[in-house]
């Protein structure tokens, strides 16, 4: 029988080349970070990489409830405090602080203080925040309309996406320069950069306002996720749909044909979790089996090779356990199983796998220091 007070991983996030884990402990949550640190995205106050998890000191005791990563920045929501913290590369206002300075120690976002947050997503240079009330705020770069405001002016301060007023936004996701959301009614909207069909409206143009993805009428979407230049949706029955860039077969359709409208993924059914990487995609079904597809140069698909995966293959090496958390960075993947084990695989040149050293891993490798029953908080602080 497991001890609910036992420290365990309750949240994961991956940036281009860095990783975050949220650990619950009897005295409150702790955020750990590792991987690339050049732009301050690890929050340790310097610009150095870390090859092993290290606690983000300034967030201890803040009650962080969820963590997120953009390409080269990070964000934490502290639910009880009703506060959002951000850190990393600051250009274009992606951190939401009100200016464009880089941040090396997490800072609170004054504009979001007091708001109850339901869902957050971070792209390359922009950020989305959906509140519990169903409102959507956007900030950061907006050159391709990814803030959904009908203009292409960048926003250093969070802006309300008025085009979605009247809709209750429940889930958000960001690709490199595009955005997605799902509403309480199960509708999906996309906006921003759209050159590979990733908007899903049948065209390949940027959209400066939220645009309904086509072909999903009557379908109640429960989850949305983005890869760098592709889009993913999962409905309440576990059917998965992808659209956008397919040059690396990342759409899971068994080909390299870009899709301009959502297309059902036939190879994986009863999908419970999805994660979009730079040029690859992962899905876990309700049995907790993980399937990967796409670019695999660094082993990020976790199937034991470095050949691109054109038709979804099951990820082995998870000891037959069910995966219950799944996140993907550009070239690496993190997963947590139902027994609380944390696995990482893919590129490790910046230490983003957390195993110490810089050896890539083409199969899941357990990060034992963060597996339930094994977590020694003092070791990270």
């Amino acid at each position: 029988m497991t001890d609910d007070n036992e420290p365990r991983v309750i949240g994961l996030a991956c940036g281009s080349s860095h990783s975050l884990a949220l650990i619950s402990t009897p005295t409150g949550s702790i955020v750990l970070s590792w991987g690339r640190g050049e732009d301050g995205q690890l929050g340790h106050g310097d610009a150095e990489d870390r090859q092993e998890p290290q606690a983000v000191f300034s967030l201890i005791g803040r009650g962080v409830s969820v963590v997120h990563c953009g390409a080269e920045y990070s964000l934490a929501v502290a639910e009880a405090e009703k506060q959002i913290y951000s850190w990393g590369w600051g250009d274009f206002g992606r951190l939401g602080t009100g200016d464009v300075k880089d941040v090396f120690i997490p800072c609170p976002l004054p504009a979001m203080t007091g708001r109850q947050v339901a869902s957050v997503a971070c792209g390359d240079t922009h950020t989305l925040v959906a509140t519990a009330a169903g409102e959507l705020f956007a900030f950061g770069r907006n050159q391709n309309g990814q803030c959904g405001l009908g203009s292409i002016q960048d926003c250093v301060v969070p802006q309300l996406v008025t085009a979605l007023q009247g809709k209750h936004v429940t889930r958000v996701a960001c690709g490199a320069e595009h955005s997605m959301c799902a509403t309480a009614e199960g509708e999906v909207y996309c906006w921003g950069w759209g050159r590979y069909g990733n908007i899903g409206d049948g065209e390949s143009q940027d959209r400066h306002l939220p645009t309904k993805a086509k072909g999903l009428s009557g379908i109640k979407v429960a989850q949305v996720a983005c890869g760098w230049r592709h889009s993913i949706a999962v409905d309440a029955e576990g059917a998965m749909y992808t659209w956008g860039w397919a040059a690396y077969a990342q759409l899971m359709h068994g080909d390299r044909t870009d899709q301009y409208v959502p297309k059902r993924v036939e190879a994986v059914r009863h999908v419970a979790l999805v994660a979009g990487g730079w040029r690859h995609t992962l899905a876990a079904d309700r049995e907790g089996r993980v399937y990967a597809c796409g670019w695999n140069k660094f082993g990020q698909c976790g199937v034991g090779s470095t050949e691109d995966v054109v038709t979804p293959q099951q990820v082995q090496g998870l000891d037959g356990e069910r995966v219950v958390q799944l996140k993907s960075g550009w070239k690496h993947t993190l997963a947590v199983t139902d027994s609380g084990k944390l696995y990482s695989w893919g590129r490790n040149v910046n230490g983003q796998l957390g195993h110490s050293g810089m050896q890539d891993s083409r199969e899941p490798k357990e990060l034992t220091a963060l597996s339930r029953g094994n977590i020694n908080i003092e070791a990270f602080t």
Copy 2:
């Protein structure tokens, strides 16, 4: 008396975090690369960093005459062959190969074969090539109009910039997402991303077509260069002008005020060479003294500290020698003196300084392996 047959550095280029050097030898030129290799930008066939110079084998014997770097890609011109080679990150067609694949071993650009090239520049995701006939070709990402074609459609194949027909383009430069050129008549045009005033037309809008920079009438510009989000011009008398982003005091005006039109740099006179980094700028005067200004977190200004340099300071530690070649990456700088010594300074986390190891350097450090009289070609091959 120096031996003209002695191997020496005749060209330099810097990307975001990598470096190229062109070495002349009695049997032909050799290209060496080092630093960040993740995207194939070193041309060695793999994705690994190099902390010391290594020869790019496939370019041996090709008669490479000049080398250039974009943020995460590289380019070499082979003048006698009338060929251009490119390698590195391929998205958006920045390599000019006709597709968007990454390239890990240099490939020739079919579309440019047979053309005599006068000047080349590479940005984050786009490339400019000016021919000896004075025509300008552009390819790569064009979302902000940086290809100068009047549209925002990306170009995977080189396109003629028809707006400059009738002008003889002699020099080109690229920032992150903007472009500059100088003509034989000494005029300066800018286009592309323009939000920080870096276009120089008094506004802060993107320009999809070449736009004349204001306030330079009667001035004959001889050189152009770009930092990430700023622009630099030098006239025939050695007067230097800068405009664009100044948040890090990189414009050399002693303040942090963005400039929307070219402004004369008072602090440095009789300028012979300029180089634009990510958030810093360097200038060498006709006596070969180097001055630096701007972001200095990693010592990239070379003035012995890591405090930002707000008013231009002279770079010490070059042994009183004259600098005759000067190039800057995002956070590092390379320089060659008239006696043929190569110095590097700044960030070294990817080995971009070439000294072996990853120790940053806040002052010029001689890269003795590439200094004239000391170059052992066999050591790099």
